[in-house]
């Protein structure tokens, strides 16, 4: 497999401008002759569907939820970065680019990241024009806050519901196009298979989750904007329905899967409380602006937090990283929390928790100011834990939150299957080995609003695509594969619900492919997964039929794919024999415990190619070259 990044030539800051000029255009009158299939309706998917429809393409958009407004972008709390420099604090496109490259520990593609930083400013303009109610100052101008991994204030926000407001903006733009008949929306539909004809992506097979009917939708190109795969860990901050099925089907049809082991563990989540737990809830990173993180200095200190005097507390992030303090990047903060807990200094009933304390901030700013900034987050915390964070410090612990890995894409966001574009969290492109806070919303909207409208036209204008008949053998084969799979899930004939396998897989992944990894553990994890998979197919029970709303069947299909993906993640983590960003191999660390990269051997993207069931996938490599930044040891001290 050849990986062609297709990065335009010329100086970094001119590449996108030049590319936009060089690409081929589709005449406005011809756009309506093309049909684009968009799977997913989050920021990237809804943004793409709306902007492609505005241009005149016919769009069919799919989501598994009952409405496109429910996609999990909605749950992002803290904010969205943009290099507006409204604060005059030294921000610039270049600085946002640099912070993102450095935050990703030099494992992302320079040209993509620069473009992201460049269009970030347009995103804010666009969202304000749509009526997104961003926070404002009394003068009427937009307010900003700070996020981890940056020393400037460049994060725009709408209370603690930034993702919700940005998604509703994109959803409203999408509904406008639906109302005009330009987009046909298929809610409660889940993609089951990709249709590839003559080597090009031409459509999908989807299951109507209400009737169980599967239907084929053909077009000229397919866009996957189906989000991340962090639910492989079972307990994660993702929505329950988030899954890997769409990108996994594409992988098995020839799309390379890049850096699958790069998963982000978010430092500030509410700790696990019991075995029945179905998900973990994030507390926004923005809380680290004003909250101070600490644990007792001595092991086994059982005093209530307010009874522990300052001199007996270890504000370990401030101690270890004086210049970034509580605002170090997520991977650094998460590992530090794990370590103090492993030392026995963790707090709460399980010992796996650290305090996030607002006492000093309330003293400095007053309760009213804190309530204005974080009120809804404090309420959410109290609702879940029964404790009042204005009075008692929050307890937090890291949880899986985002996947930087995803389908490999070139500069045009096209995968290794021509005509298959991958946007947002579903691709691998912009965050390297670690994503900075408030950059996921930025990437989703950049891809959907500002990149795909150009690169899609370029593809369609260059290709000569013959119509595909419903009866084409590839279409039939895809439909048959879906039917066979559904039948197999329904007829396994065992006694265990799919969720029980999912929990078991999650424990394997968290233990062996989580915050810290080593060769022995990864091999052990990889050894366990095939057995669990065999047990799944032997002992699974899915009640009901395939011709109705069957939530057990939906879950089982997703778990089946996670059981395959988990193994690939372990393999990728094993073969990347270095530490970088979130990928922390204990064999490779500095004397002070920081990640130790191996730029000689691993300054590349690992893009895995499916080689058939039961066969070891092929590891392809895209070398990363840094012409504009120096490869440095990432330091936040």
């Amino acid at each position: 497999m050849e990986l062609k990044p297709n990065v335009p030539s010329g100086p970094l800051e001119k590449k996108w401008e030049r590319h936009k000029f060089d690409i081929k255009l589709v005449n406005p009158a011809n756009k309506r002759k093309y049909t684009v299939i968009v799977v997913g309706s989050g920021l990237a998917g809804a943004g793409a569907a709306a902007s492609l429809a505005e241009l005149g393409y016919r769009v069919r958009c799919f989501c598994y939820q009952d409405s496109p407004r429910r996609a999990h972008s909605i749950a992002a709390q803290g904010g969205i970065n943009a290099a507006k420099n409204y604060k005059n604090d030294g921000d610039s496109v270049w600085r946002l680019f640099y912070d993102t490259i450095k935050g990703g520990d030099f494992r992302s593609r320079e040209a993509n990241v620069y473009r992201l930083a460049e269009v970030s400013v347009n995103i804010i303009d666009q969202c304000v024009a749509q009526g997104v109610p961003f926070a404002r100052e009394y003068g009427g101008l937009l307010d900003n806050r700070s996020f981890g991994g940056a020393q400037v204030s460049r994060t725009f926000y709408a209370r603690g519901q930034t993702g919700q407001q940005l998604l509703l903006g994109a959803y409203q733009a999408l509904e406008r196009q639906i109302g005009q008949g330009q987009v046909e929306m298929f809610a409660r539909h889940e993609m089951q298979e990709l249709v590839v004809v003559d080597g090009k992506a031409r459509g999908i097979v989807a299951r109507d989750l209400v009737t169980g009917e599967t239907t084929t939708h053909l077009g000229d190109a397919v866009v996957l904007a189906t989000g991340g795969y962090g639910n492989v860990f079972y307990l994660a901050t993702y929505a329950k329905g988030c899954n890997t099925t769409a990108i996994w089907r594409a992988y098995k049809k020839g799309a390379a899967f890049a850096n699958p082991c790069f998963t982000q563990i978010h430092p500030t989540c509410i700790p696990v409380s019991g075995e029945y737990q179905s998900k973990l809830t994030l507390m926004s990173e923005s809380l680290r602006n004003d909250g101070r993180i600490w644990v007792p200095k001595t092991k086994g200190d059982q005093r209530a937090p307010n009874q522990i005097p300052k001199e007996d507390r270890d504000y370990y992030l401030e101690r270890m990283y004086p210049s970034f303090g509580n605002l170090v990047p997520r991977d650094v903060a998460s590992r530090a929390a794990k370590r103090v807990c492993d030392e026995g200094r963790g707090v709460g009933p399980t010992g796996y928790g650290v305090y996030l304390d607002f006492h000093d901030a309330i003293g400095r700013l007053g309760k009213a100011k804190i309530e204005e900034k974080y009120g809804n987050l404090f309420e959410m915390y109290e609702r879940i834990t029964g404790e009042n964070p204005y009075e008692v410090p929050m307890r937090i612990y890291p949880a899986t939150h985002y996947t930087m890995g995803g389908l490999w894409v070139d500069y045009n966001l096209m995968s290794t299957i021509p005509g298959l574009f991958v946007l947002g969290e579903a691709n691998f492109s912009d965050h390297g080995a670690n994503r900075l806070g408030a950059s996921a919303l930025m990437q989703g909207l950049a891809d959907g609003y500002f990149v795909i409208p150009y690169t899609m036209g370029n593809y369609l204008a260059r290709e000569k695509l013959a119509p595909v008949a419903d009866t084409h053998p590839e279409v039939r084969a895809a439909e048959d594969a879906v039917a066979a799979r559904t039948k197999r899930l329904l007829s396994a004939g065992g006694s265990r619900p799919a969720a029980s396998f999912h929990r078991e897989l999650g424990k394997i992944m968290w233990e062996h492919c989580g915050m810290e990894r080593d060769k022995k553990g990864l091999e052990h994890g990889m050894g366990k997964i095939p057995g669990l998979r065999a047990e799944f197919w032997k002992n699974l029970r899915v009640p009901g039929s395939g011709a109705e709303l069957n939530q057990s069947l939906e879950v089982a299909g997703r778990v089946a794919d996670f059981l395959e993906l988990g193994e690939l993640m372990c393999l990728d983590a094993l073969e990347r024999d270095e530490s970088c960003g979130c990928h922390f191999r204990t064999e490779h660390q500095m004397a002070d415990g920081e990640a130790k990269r191996d730029d000689q051997q691993f300054c590349h993207v690992a893009a895995w190619e499916y080689a058939g069931d039961g066969k070891k996938p092929i590891r392809n490599v895209e070398p990363l070259t840094f012409e504009n930044v120096d490869l440095q040891v990432r330091s936040y001290k």
């Binding site: 943004g47 407004r69 303009d125 749509q130 709408a158 029945y276 179905s278 029964g386 619900p497």
Partner: protein, 259 residues
């Protein structure tokens, strides 16, 4: 603790439904209500029975997917809390709870506790947006907005579209939902050009979907998990009257406008 559940079971849109009693014998106070249902469902699957279908997704109170009625109250007894964030510590050992889907003509039942809320999407598609082409926006700080206005718009925009307001309303009206979007956009300067047409088109769609009329019971506000206030209904009504009057004048003078 031990909880007894009387759950509405309905095979599909066409079948008749009925209440079926289930026992949840070992409920932890730390569970969410949905986690308790997960446990009940896993035991049903293990016995080879059809689990209770219910909608849910983010489980952190923001996506608006979940929702059903517990003992007559949409999202249950806790104010400003969706069922996914309703924790069992607010119930006690021995409680007998009745669980049923949203009841409204405009929200037909699909299965058990799952209803079809696509009417809400169609109300938004009728005008719940600002028509701005992607890519052509001016600098964001070129449109200053008073902080008070921005905050008020945000209060309205916080609606999660769960449908509890409709379920709570004796008339199954969708006024709180519709007025929240109308108000969000009407309060902001960006929303002014389409303001008169927007409110008329959205209200017309709302009526066409079969939602009831508002008779000021205010049950919607009490049930709303996001604290959306009925003052937005008053704002919408005022806008609607004004818009209809000017549309009437336009019609009389022969200008059909854009609405």
């Amino acid at each position: 603790m031990r909880i007894t559940l009387k759950v509405w079971r309905q095979k599909d849109a066409k079948s008749e439904g009925r209440f079926v009693t289930y026992e949840a014998p070992d409920v932890s106070e730390h569970m969410s209500f949905l986690e308790m249902l997960d446990v009940v469902n896993e035991s049903l699957v293990a016995k080879g029975e059809d689990p209770i279908a219910f909608d849910h997704d983010c489980r952190e109170g923001i996506c608006g997917t979940c929702g059903f009625v517990i003992d007559g109250k949409p999202h249950g007894p806790r104010p400003k809390t969706t069922v996914c964030q309703l924790h069992m510590r607010f119930f006690k050992d021995g409680d007998v709870l009745t669980i049923e889907p949203w009841r409204a003509d405009a929200f037909p039942v699909i299965k058990d506790l799952v209803v079809d809320r696509s009417a809400f999407d169609r109300i938004i598609a009728a005008g719940g947006f600002i028509s701005t082409a992607i890519g052509g926006a001016q600098d964001a700080n070129g449109i200053p907005v008073r902080k008070e206005d921005s905050d008020l718009a945000m209060d309205a925009a916080a609606c999660i579209g769960c449908g509890a307001c409709v379920a709570a309303c004796p008339n199954a009206a969708a006024m709180l939902f519709t007025s929240a979007k109308v108000s969000h956009l009407a309060i902001l300067p960006q929303g002014q050009p389409e303001r008169p047409d927007r409110v008329r088109n959205m209200v017309a769609r709302m009526d066409a979907e079969g939602f009831g009329t508002c008779t000021n019971h205010n049950e919607c506000e009490a049930a709303c998990p996001k604290g959306i206030r009925v003052e937005f209904i008053a704002r919408m009504n005022a806008d609607y009257v004004k818009s209809s009057a000017s549309a009437g004048r336009r019609a009389a003078s022969g200008d059909s406008g854009t609405g």
